[in-house]
Structure formats: C-alpha cells, structure tokens
Amino acid sequence: MTKGFWLKILIVIITVLLPLILNGYQLQVMVMVGIFSILTLSLNVISGYGGMISLGHAGFFLVGAYTSAILTVDAGVNPWLALIAAILVTALFGLLLSFPALKLSGHFLAVITIAFGLIMQILAINMEWLTGGIEGVSQIPRPSIFGYDLKGDNAFYYLVAVVLIATFWLLKQILHSDFGRSLRAVRDDEVAASCMGIDIRATKIIAFVLSAGVAGLAGALYAHFVRYLNPDSFTLEISIRVFLMVIIGGIGSLGGSILGAATVYLLPEFLRFLDNYYYLAFGLAVVLVMRFLPGGLISLGPILERGISRGSTSKRRRKDA
C-alpha cells in the first residue's frame, strides 16, 4: 500500500465523519468550500494547466447558477435535468469565450475575461424579465434522489462531497490523458507544441469548454444549496478570489486547488474574531504565503517530507555515532 492510498482513505473518512462534529453553520461553510473547490478546479484547468489567465470565472459560475435556478423555478424542470442543462449552457459560453482566447494571451486575455465576468453580472442585474434583476431568483428547490429529498444540509453536504470527488477524479483522468499533456505542451511552448502535431486551437477550445462546464456545475450546486440568487454573489471580487484559490493552493495541481479553496474560504472564518481587521489579515496572509511559498501551499508537502526525512537521518546519524 502506498502512502498516497492511505492519504486517500484518511481524506474519505474525514469527509464522511465531518458532519458529525460540525454545527449547522460550520456544515454550510464546508458545503461552500466544496462548491468553491469545484470552481477552483475548473479555473485550474485553463490557468494552471493551460497557462491562460481568467479573471472572469464568476461569470461562468453565474451562468451555471442562473440557468439551473431559472429552469427549476420558472419552467418547473427537474433539478437534475436543470443541473445538466446548466453544465451544457455554461460550456457553450466557454466555447464563445474561447475564440478571443485563441487570438489573445497574457494581459489581453485577462482583460477580456474581466470584461466577460462584469458583462454577465450587469446582464443579470438588468435583464429583469429573465433573472429577476437585483431582487434575484428565490425559492430554488433542492434536488431529490430516489424519492429522498436532499432538503437537509447534511444530505447536501454528501452530495457536494460526491460531486467534488467525482469531478476531481474525472479531471485527473482527463488532464493525465493525451489531451492534458497537449494542454501543458501548449502552455509551455506553443510553437514547439504545434511542431509536435498538437492542434493548438482544438486544445484551447476544449480546455475552455471543459473549464466552463465544470464551473457551471459548481454554479448549479450553489444555486440549489443557497436557494436564493442575486447578482451580488458574482462580483469581480469572487473571480479574483477564485484566482487566489488556484495560486495559493498551487498552480497546476488539482489537490492544491482544493487546498487553496479550503484555505481562502476558511481563513476569513477563522479570522472572524479579528472583526474589522479580518480582511486586512486576509490580504496580509495572501502576501505572506506568496512571499515565502511561491509554489503555493501544495509545495509545503514536499518541503515537510524533506524536513521529516532529514530529521530522521540526523537521528540515525546520532545513533551511529
């Protein structure tokens, strides 16, 4: 049995047992951590593996959330079907945004994605006939499974946990396939990648569609969890925060994304005792992590391991002496 295997077993056990020790509010926070982990994973596909900066992921999140919410509330569609529709519609938006991404890179792409996120938010505010404007959409139903209603936060927690693990596994398979290798090759050197016969256009388009679809999934889960949407939940700050989650966790690492999402989402909760200072401390924490761990929190793993092994060898040496 490898160490990774036991780590996985441990994570699953903790995930299963966590609701037993958490109170209602803490459980809701953990559900949000799960949803943001999915969103962070989706951004990592294009930013971490594809090297394309997106500061508009709240836009995809919004499209997924509103699609699922509007379909279930206004059209009475089954929440599961609405969830799938949300993934497809958001993936379509990803397809649209991938065309500028083919032509632009770096800051130019970053600005386009910022513009995309803001456009989506302004449309959600102003297209009242569809989105309910600033009033938003309320009374979004929770889905049910085999006739069992997922009304309780406990049940929804497990749903999000299962979806997160499934997304993680699926993305891992995809990113370690030919496509994933192509994507990393395109990130590292477009010219060399195209010389190796990689279709750069197709690779980038697929990456955007995949990323958007997963973000739409996160959005739909969010809509059915909080059961009330308004445009304030999809600001530029959210896009920036998701970006921070990717980088702080460790860019180009799926495990890092979950770590980053958990850290960035939970840190303000732990800092709440600081009251007015807490965002101040949050900003400071971001600066400090990047200052001392430019590879993100996930790079802490190998550092600790090295530290432990160094500690044990020095002990052994002392014994020898």
Binding site: I53, P100, K103, V111, I119, I122, I247, G283, M290, P294
Partner: protein
C-alpha cells in the same frame, strides 16, 4: 450638453490614463502587473482629506501631502513586498499585488471607515467658457494638468539620467546593470513614480467623486483596460486608451443606456481586441 459630456469624459479619461501610465511604467520596468495601482489614487485622496479636515492644513499643502504619501507608500510596498519576489513566477507576483490590493482597500476602510466622504471643490461648480465651449472648471484643470504632466514625463524620460536609466532597465535589466545603472534603485523609484502618478490622479478626481475606500478596484479595472487598449507597454497608448474609455463611458451612458453602459463598453473592447489583438499601439519589448 455634448461639449460638457465630452470634456468631462476626456477629463475622467485623462485620470484613467494617468493611472494606466503608472501601471504600464511598473510593467515596463519591473515586469509586474500591479493590481494595487488603483488603491494609490484612493489612498492619496484620503491623505489629502486628512490633511485638510483633521490637521487643518492649507489645500495646496494637503494635496501635496496626498501625492507624496502615495509616492512613499509605493516605495514602501516595493521594498517590503515586491523586491523579495522579483523574478519568481509571474502568477505569484500578480497574486502578491492582489493581496496588497485587498490589504490597502481594507486598511483604508479600517483607518477612515466605510462611509464615503465629500471632498471640497477646488474651483466651484459653475461651468466656465473656454474657446466657446462650456465645461466644468475641474475638467479643464484636469486636462491641463495631465497634459503638462505628460509633456514633463516625456522630457524626463528622454533628457534626464533617471529617465534614461528607466528606459534602459525596461529594455534589458542585465545590460542596464552592466552599464553601471543601479537596477533595483531604478525599479524602486519607477514604482514610486507610478504610484505617485496614481496619487496625482487621486487628488485631481477627489472633488468630482466621493472619496471612499472602495474606489481602488473600479479605477484599476478602467485603467487596466486603458493600458490594454493602448497596447500594454506604450505610454501615449495608455493615455489615449484612458481618454477613449472616459469619453465612451460618458457618451454611451448618456445617449444609449446607462444600465447597459458597461456591457456596451466591454463589448466594444472585446470586439476591438479581436480586430487588433495587441491593442491600438502595439508595443514590442
């Protein structure tokens, strides 16, 4: 009406351009995208306001205090947060500046509170006639100051030793240091100048906006767009990009739709970048 709108658009655009100019200056010299750039405009307004209302200083002194404050804060930021990470992964550096942005805007909230303040007018609100066109005195002042600054900066960059060092460092850091230029000092001063420019933009816009801790991020976005529109690297491009944004902002908001103003503006931006992927004035490093 049109001329007033046009001029206030140009004036606001000049300010976006001025902030964008600093943004591009930092990018060119230190290869850093400074997400905290907008915060320096905000901070300088608050410094000036503090000098004016709490310390009872004369207006001019208070305004100078705002700009100098932004300049010094920029130097401090460079020394503490930026210099140690120069040269690591660019995404990590962006993240640090995002962290600084959060730090500054919430620091300002902590020091000055979340309530917006009204800054006193410099000239009164009556419109003035200039070459047969009606405009706000403040707009005219902004346009004149920014034009003078632009000319002065061009002169500094072409004629002085500091300006030449800045240009050398942005072309090639290693070669510049071989030529005896103190690279890290040049970068520090470049960043200080950039944040000082944002500070000047701040005190110029203080009378025409509410002074609040939330101003930084929207200003950053507008000036980021201005810089990109201008080719991200070109100084005249940044100014012109800013003016385009400012004017379009006003005209679309008044003549087409104030609700969809930003949608149209950003839509135009996307279309423009699809047609000219490297901005209006492509800049080759």
């Amino acid at each position: 009406m049109l001329s007033t709108l046009l001029f206030s658009g140009i004036a606001m655009g000049c300010l976006y351009g001025l902030i964008a100019l600093g943004f591009v200056l930092i990018w060119n010299t230190a290869a850093i995208v400074n997400f905290a750039q907008g915060e320096f405009a905000m901070v300088s307004m608050f410094f000036a306001l503090t000098g004016l209302t709490m310390m009872g200083l004369p207006l001019v002194i208070a305004l100078i205090m705002g700009v100098v404050g932004a300049f010094l804060l920029g130097l401090l930021m460079e020394r503490i947060a930026i210099r140690p990470i120069l040269g690591v992964d660019p995404l990590s550096v962006i993240t640090v500046t995002i962290g600084l942005q959060i730090l500054f805007s919430n620091g300002a909230k902590f020091v000055w509170g979340t309530q917006p303040f009204v800054f006193p007018q410099y000239f009164g609100t009556a419109p003035v006639e200039f070459m047969g066109l009606r405009m706000q005195a403040q707009s005219l002042a902004i346009i004149v100051v920014v034009a003078v600054l632009a000319i002065a900066m061009h002169q500094i960059s072409q004629k002085t030793k500091f300006g030449k060092s800045l240009r050398a460092v942005s072309q090639n850091r290693e070669t510049a240091s071989l030529m005896g230029i103190n690279v890290s000092r040049t970068i520090a001063l470049g960043i200080g100048c950039a944040t000082g420019l944002a500070g000047i933009a701040g005190i110029l816009m203080a009378p025409i906006t509410f002074v609040s801790a939330d101003l930084g991020l929207p200003l950053l976005i507008k000036s980021f767009i201005a810089a990109v529109l201008g080719g991200f690297g070109s100084y005249p491009g940044a100014l012109i990009g800013g003016v385009i944004i400012g004017v379009l902002d006003n005209l679309i908001g008044f003549y087409i739709s104030s609700e969809y103003r930003d949608v149209i503006l950003f839509g135009l931006l996307i279309i423009m970048l699809l047609v000219r992927p490297s901005g209006l004035f492509p800049h080759h490093r």
